[in-house]
């Protein structure tokens, strides 16, 4: 398989291959672009207009939420508005579902190239689009794209995207876990003009709604999207009328230029190098026991970042995403980690980011791969490891270190799709939103946030149980945070939670699962931090739960009921849950940061008191002794325990180590330094300066390596062979000199070591100067 940039003679036009915009867009001369921008704008006017543009976007999102009112829009916030310049650079995008804006600019560029001549782009037009090869995340994310004209020239674009209930396909809701190709999935719409001269084109609207099982809902949401664009367009025109088009455009340009400058400044403080992460997707079609690697590689070359996915498995089954999904996912991480101080004006940064994926891979799939489940699998796995590679790159700079964030919870979404007849006698179908409760990964100086949501949707919200029970025939037995789920570390990852329910006021419910990350953890930790818990489905049939409810004896864990355990597959379709069958799902938790044995014993003790960590995990992973009987922290025993563990590691390494004396150039990670030694650069333990080899090599090869089963890292995972044939293992790399844990790696047995970072010597001098 060949990387995109090395392919000859392939056309990336959004038909069989994804659309990749050229550097210079081919726009019909019929369309006049507004290019006039004032460069000298006083700071007050700039701030007033900047603030207004940000608010235009907020109001745009609020309008959609108000009019749609659908649970998707209100809880999952599966929508996002954007403003783009006339040539489709991002000015701002909203704080809702971040993926969605990440796939916007390519769609607008496609429209500029493919619609400016025929049927033309004119004032009062809007385009409807959902084609993942042009730029949608998956078919349900329908985008409405609105050009804003001023005096006959295209001034800018306002767009929004909103997840639809159902736009067709073989499975209600249009998530199609058993699809074999895009032809099994929802309708595909390359951008079409659905609003012309400010009127809805009935013919196009009817075409759009025809494939849906819920045409009324889709029609209402379409009106919400229309109202959002109309309101945003009007606000921008008001700004133009008041301040002048060239001034407003000047502000847009400066937002982009400022964002670009800040991005370059940040990159200039970082070493040159390559960072890499590898994770896995499980089960690409019903019954499949495969495991599919997903690799993300980040190169930093001067002031440019290059992302690649080489090493990722070929597209298969129903687990894929397109180029725009992969690119949009990575943009989320860039935006949050590097552009937050510019209010997410990622457009400027994007001028210095290159994407070079390998077409035909599972996250850069060619037509007609199945992509309807992209946001729950292929996009999550494209996004979260990007946090890792960016964080490791950023760690070298002491100031940016504060923005480092580990992978959060729900890094693969354990889907619970269910349907039947509800307590009101009506037919229903639904997807359990609970995993949106997620967890936030650990930071370099603080714990992650337990059930803190999903970082890709910063303002999402879990429905109350009372809301879910009102709408669906369920009785939740519990919903609770899961002890030991947060990835251990010097700073712990956030805990995730578990939802457990039985059918109630109905004969049965019919369910599908759709998941990955149940055997191999996907919320890997960083710099010694452990992975967070995997996704866990539990299903116990014919239990005594109804008897227990009758005798006022409720449960707090599914293990408390008597019954027969059934292992659910990861894409199991149409299984029945009867009223005495208990179902529960734990969504994956967040990764930890740094060596757990460096966590303050008092913090571990507090975690125990707050039910975040068990006594066993405190002892085995953190090396902290808690007397559960007296409820006291034993500091002396803790010190002894930790010292003994480290000594045992050193002894096991049993090698004579040399210590570096050269000047510390920078910290590559929490426990890995880079020192100048006799003219070459060497990795070393950041604690004891033990030499870990020249930077040209992989430092891991000079560490004490210890391999264990995955259960060692994630006791909650259970036997991985329930789902997959491969054997995942937990590799740990310790300093042979002092026993400090430097890094962990989750890999399948037999796979080569991951080279997670390679700093190249030539730019180190620059970093030395910076620090």
């Amino acid at each position: 398989m060949t990387k995109m940039n090395d392919l000859q003679g392939v056309i990336f036009d959004g038909v069989n291959q994804p659309y990749v915009p050229p550097k210079h867009l081919r726009i019909s001369p019929k369309l006049k672009l507004h290019r006039d921008a004032v460069t000298d704008i006083d700071p007050v006017t700039f701030e007033v207009i900047r603030h207004n543009l940000w608010n235009v976007n907020e109001e745009h999102g609020a309008t959609i939420q108000r009019i749609s009112g659908s649970p998707v829009a209100m809880y999952a916030l599966d929508l996002n508005p954007s403003i783009l310049t006339e040539d489709a650079e991002f000015v701002y995008f909203g704080p809702y579902m971040q993926y969605m804006s990440g796939v916007t600019d390519t769609q607008v560029k496609w429209i500029l190239e493919n619609r400016s001549d025929n049927p033309g782009i004119k004032p009062g037009d809007m385009f409807l689009a959902n084609d993942p090869w042009v730029g949608a995340a998956h078919q349900m994310d329908v985008m409405l794209i609105c050009p804003v004209f001023w005096e006959g020239e295209l001034f800018c674009w306002v767009t929004n995207c909103l997840h639809q209930y159902d736009i067709g396909g073989i499975t209600p809701g249009s998530f199609c876990p058993s699809a074999t190709s895009a032809f099994d999935e929802g309708i595909l719409i390359p951008p079409v003009k659905i609003i012309e001269n400010d009127e809805i084109r009935r013919d196009i609207e009817e075409l759009y709604l025809r494939s849906s099982r819920k045409p009324d809902m889709v029609a209402l949401d379409f009106r919400a999207q229309l109202a959002g664009n109309t309101a945003a367009r009007e606000r921008i025109l008001q700004l133009i009328r008041r301040y002048g088009a060239s001034v407003v455009k000047g502000v847009m340009r400066r937002i982009l230029d400022n964002g670009e400058q800040m991005f370059i400044d940040k990159l200039s403080r970082l070493p040159e190098g390559t960072w890499r992460d590898r994770t896995y997707i499980e089960c690409c079609r019903p019954g499949d026991r495969g495991t599919y690697p997903v690799v993300v590689t980040l190169h930093k070359r001067g002031n440019t970042l290059i992302f690649e996915n080489e090493g990722t498995a070929p597209q298969q089954g129903a687990m894929n995403a397109t180029y725009s999904g992969w690119r949009g996912s990575i943009m989320v991480a860039i935006n949050q980690l590097l552009c937050w101080d510019q209010y997410f004006a990622v457009g400027g940064a994007l001028r210095h980011v290159e994407f070079n994926p390998t077409p035909g891979t599972l996250n850069c799939a060619s037509f007609p791969a199945s992509v309807s489940t992209a946001p729950t699998q292929a996009m999550e796995i494209s996004l979260y490891p990007a946090y890792n590679v960016l964080s490791k790159m950023m760690y070298a700079d002491p100031e940016m270190r504060g923005d480092v964030m580990c992978i959060g919870g729900t890094s693969q979404w354990p889907t619970t799709i269910f349907r039947g007849i509800d307590q009101w006698g009506e037919r229903y179908g639904y997807l359990l939103i609970d995993p949106i409760g997620g967890a936030i990964g650990a930071f370099s100086g603080a714990d992650g946030i337990s059930t803190g949501g999903q970082s890709r949707t910063p303002i999402c919200r879990l429905p109350n149980i009372e809301h879910t029970e009102q709408s669906f025939p369920l009785l939740f037995l519990y919903r609770k945070e899961v002890t030991d789920s947060g990835g251990p570390g010097k700073f712990r990852g956030g805990l995730s939670a578990e939802s457990c329910f039985i059918p109630h006021n109905t004969d049965r419910i019919v369910q599908d699962t759709l998941s990955s990350g149940n055997a191999v953890p996907t919320s890997t930790g960083m710099m010694g931090g452990y992975p967070g818990s995997v996704n866990v489905y539990r299903f116990r049939r014919a239990t005594d739960i109804l008897k227990r409810l009758k005798s006022s004896d409720m449960i707090e864990a599914i293990a408390d009921v008597k019954g027969t355990d059934v292992t659910l597959g990861l894409r199991q379709e149409n299984f029945e849950q009867n009223p005495d069958d208990v179902y529960s799902v734990i969504w994956s938790a967040a990764g930890g940061f740094g060596d757990p044995m460096e966590r303050a014993p008092q913090s571990v003790f507090d975690d125990w008191q707050n039910l975040a960590v068990s006594v066993e995990a405190a002892r085995d992973i953190y090396g902290v002794a808690i007397d559960a009987r007296t409820g006291a922290l034993d500091e002396a025993a803790t010190a002894k325990l930790r010292a003994a563990k480290r000594e045992a590691r050193v002894k096991k390494a049993g090698r004579k180590v040399s210590t570096l004396k050269g000047e510390l150039a920078f910290l590559a990670t929490e426990n890995l330094g880079v020192r100048r030694e006799a003219g070459t650069m060497h990795y070393c333990c950041a604690k004891c300066a033990t030499d870990l080899g020249a930077v040209a090599g992989n430092y891991k090869e000079n560490c004490l390596r210890e391999d264990n089963t995955i259960l060692h890292a994630v006791p909650l995972s259970g036997d991985p062979q329930r789902y997959i044939d491969a054997h995942p293992e937990f590799r740990q790399f310790f300093c042979p000199g002092c026993g400090t844990l430097i890094e962990n790696e989750v890999a399948l047995t037999g796979e080569p070591l991951l080279r997670d970072l390679e700093v190249t010597g030539d730019a180190l001098a620059a970093v030395g100067r910076a620090s």
Binding site: P43, V44, F476, Y478, K480, I555, Q609
Partner: protein
């Protein structure tokens, strides 16, 4: 014998007392607040008020027909984290509701950066740690049916273990208790039996609403501030009784009226935010007198800018509030705040050459640079001094001297970095703050289906009248009222004195069309009965009660609920069609034409009764005589003031606002000083003192 209505508001520095007699005459008295024993400051202020009226305190107490008091004891306990040690008993398996926080991080109302930059987006410290939460076997379902009987053995053990842990208050919240409160009440009674002195709150008594996270949060917050508020109020009540006050003490509440002291002790949560709400209540009262039913109320202080909306004489409501990131149910007058006040800090981003104002504030300490209290970073107030809006020698009635050169130096330094002149920069700082204020008002009006041009804007708070002329103009508002004379500086006490007794009862019964009329009627009948009982406890007979009925409705399958009035609807007849029409009209008013979806079934969710009793007080009296002639003493000469409109200085007349007579009118550019603030009259605007003694600013565009 004259009778009096008295309102008292206790602030951090001053305790304000407003006395209105039955002729509508207003007397105000201020005394120092007495931290440690706030009751003393209140008694001092009332005594001072009596003195101003030429009465002995005893004589005044005897003649007070209603004494209303706003307390911040509960708010302070939350801010200072000094509330009670609370234990929580909940449905087994659902212990973590207030820790999960609906998987969000309490993001409502926070700046977007604090929301999306995760290192700044931690959850708050939980009010109740997990080890003080006990799950008990019991369960009710969405029909209100008992699925699991209450396990009393577990309940008793839970209560006992929390008592053993030394909790000072107990909160009880079970799933679906708003439909079937039997289990909660049983546990409540058991707890009272086992520990008669323990403060106990159960959710069904406090906020019987749908949604366990916000309901549980309300319950634990109430328990958290319960003991300290109840302790304070019972002491105060006893003291007032001993001084000769014979009527039930009324406490202002966040719903905009008052409740009896006994109810406030049970539901102190209602007192949170009651201070700012009293400002809105006072505005509504004044608005009634002045026949302006649509009002935007703005209060700009040192750290924040608070906005409320009154439409058709009724304050806009919200039913979910938040404090310290905790979101909780409470029916409350909707007040939204942003971090834009006199103390908002000004910062420059060197790299992008841009200027930012707020949301961080210098607060009272170190305060603005010109206060000379150690503040080094310039603020909006410093810009006001530089521009000439504020007189350095006559600020706050001369109580604080302002260091203008220091303010000029601090802003000058920023101006230089940005390549602007000193005054361009100061004017820009004011403008950025003013535009932020216009934005929040736009969100609360345009964003909710109101046109700001249909509203009069009330500007109060120390910094509001300085900037109202600009942010009102931005919104297209024609008229700004600056409440004046005695009322301005004691606005919240005035609001307390003008508040009606008010009970708001909620009852959730989720019902989809076609509606069952018997169920609707029975809900209403039970609520009306309860409302009347509560009023009787307050000593208010049925004839004086005003009942307003409403219901929150939505499209089935959607989330947005709107409150629709049931008043005047024949609930015994075929009310479905007219109620649908009311719903669509209200929905489209809020969410825009065409947003209602007529094909969908509708759902009733929460029935509501607002039961109020207007205090029989006379209205404010306008002055009979209006004067054209401005007293000579009102003119204090000229000062150089910078005006953004002119991009230049203009010699502007400075007036002493206290010397104005009703009917007097001046035109801008001018500054009118009052004891508490200054009104900036911009070029082209006119200011007059109206018949009620308020300043009326006409924007004239």
């Amino acid at each position: 014998m004259a009778s009096y209505f008295v309102g008292v508001d206790i602030g951090g520095t001053f305790t304000d007392c407003v006395v209105i007699d039955d002729q509508g005459r207003v007397t105000t008295a201020k005394s120092s607040s007495t931290p440690g024993d706030f009751a003393q400051g209140m008694i001092d202020a009332i005594a001072y008020g009596a003195q101003k009226l030429g009465l002995t305190p005893e004589a005044l107490y005897e003649r007070i027909s209603i004494l209303s008091h706003g307390t911040t004891v509960g708010t302070n306990a939350i801010v200072q984290k000094r509330g009670a040690k609370v234990g929580l008993i909940t449905t087994k398996g659902h212990n973590d509701v207030i820790h999960i926080m609906r998987g969000s991080r309490g993001v409502t109302g926070r700046d977007v950066r604090q929301v999306t930059h995760f290192p700044e987006s931690q959850k708050p410290i939980p009010i109740v740690p997990k080890r003080l939460i006990r799950g008990v076997s019991e369960r009710v379902d969405c029909f209100g049916n008992t699925v699991v009987e209450l396990n009393e053995t577990e309940a008793r053990a839970a209560i006992q273990s929390l008592i053993d842990e030394g909790v000072e208050a107990l909160a009880i919240c079970f799933l679906w208790s708003f439909l079937n409160p039997a289990h909660e009440r049983r546990v409540r009674d058991m707890a009272r039996e086992m520990a008669p002195n323990l403060y106990v709150t159960c959710s069904a008594d406090l906020v019987p609403k749908w949604g366990e996270y916000e309901r549980t949060t309300a319950t634990v917050l109430n328990a958290y501030i319960g003991p300290i508020t109840a302790g304070y109020l019972s002491k105060l009540d006893a003291k007032l009784q001993s001084l000769g006050y014979r009527r039930p003490l009324q406490i202002t509440q966040c719903g905009g009226g008052t409740i009896s002291v006994q109810e406030a002790m049970k539901a102190p949560l209602l007192t949170l935010d009651s201070g700012p709400v009293s400002g809105v209540t006072g505005s509504a009262y004044l608005g009634r007198a002045m026949k302006t039913p649509n009002i935007i109320t703005t209060d700009m202080g040192g750290t924040s800018f608070d906005v409320g909306i009154i439409s058709g004489g009724e304050p806009a409501f919200s039913f979910i509030s938040n404090v310290n990131q905790y979101e909780y149910f409470i029916p409350k007058v909707d007040i939204q705040a942003i971090g834009a006040g006199g103390g908002s800090l000004v910062r420059v981003d060197e790299k992008t050459r841009s200027l930012r104002v707020g949301p961080e504030s210098a607060g009272a300490r170190p305060g603005p640079v010109c206060y000379s209290r150690g503040g080094k970073i310039p603020t909006v107030t410093d810009a006001d001094v530089v521009l000439g809006y504020l007189d350095p020698d006559n600020f706050a009635g001369g109580r604080i001297k302002l260091d203008k050169p220091a303010a000029e130096a601090a802003i000058g330094e920023i101006a230089q970095r940005l390549g602007m002149t000193l005054h361009e920069c100061a004017s820009g700082i004011a403008k950025i703050a003013e535009f932020q204020m216009a934005d929040i008002i736009r969100k609360m009006t345009v964003g909710k289906g109101f046109d700001p041009r249909d509203f009069v804007l009330y500007a109060f708070g120390g910094a509001g009248p300085l900037h109202a002329g600009v942010f009102s103009r931005e919104l297209g508002v024609q008229k700004v009222i600056v409440p004046q004379r005695e009322t301005a500086s004691t606005w919240c006490a005035f609001g307390a004195a003008s508040a009606d007794v008010l009970h708001i009862l909620d009852r959730v019964d989720i019902m989809v069309t076609p509606w069952n009329p018997d169920r609707v009627q029975s809900n209403i009948a039970q609520m009306v009965k309860e409302a009347r009982e509560r009023m009787q406890q307050d000593g208010i007979d049925d004839k004086r009660q005003l009942l307003q009925l409403s219901v929150d409705m939505r499209h089935r399958g959607q989330i947005n609920e709107v409150e629709v009035s049931l008043d005047g609807l024949d609930l015994k007849g075929d009310f479905e069609a007219p109620l649908r029409e009311r719903f669509y009209a209200r929905y489209e008013q809020l969410y825009g034409r065409g947003s209602a979806f007529r094909g969908a079934r509708l759902e009733m969710v929460t029935f509501r009764v607002r039961s109020s009793a207007e205090t029989p007080r006379p209205g404010l009296k306008p002055s009979d005589t209006l004067s054209d002639a401005l007293p000579a003493a009102a003119n204090r000469g000229k000062r150089r003031v910078y005006w953004d409109e002119l991009k230049d200085f203009a010699d502007s007349t400075i007036y002493d606002g206290t010397k104005f007579l009703p009917g007097n009118r001046i035109t801008g550019p001018a500054i009118v000083d009052t004891p508490d603030t200054s009104v900036v009259v911009r070029p082209g605007q006119t200011l007059s003192l109206d018949a009620y003694g308020n300043f009326e600013l006409l924007l004239g565009e």
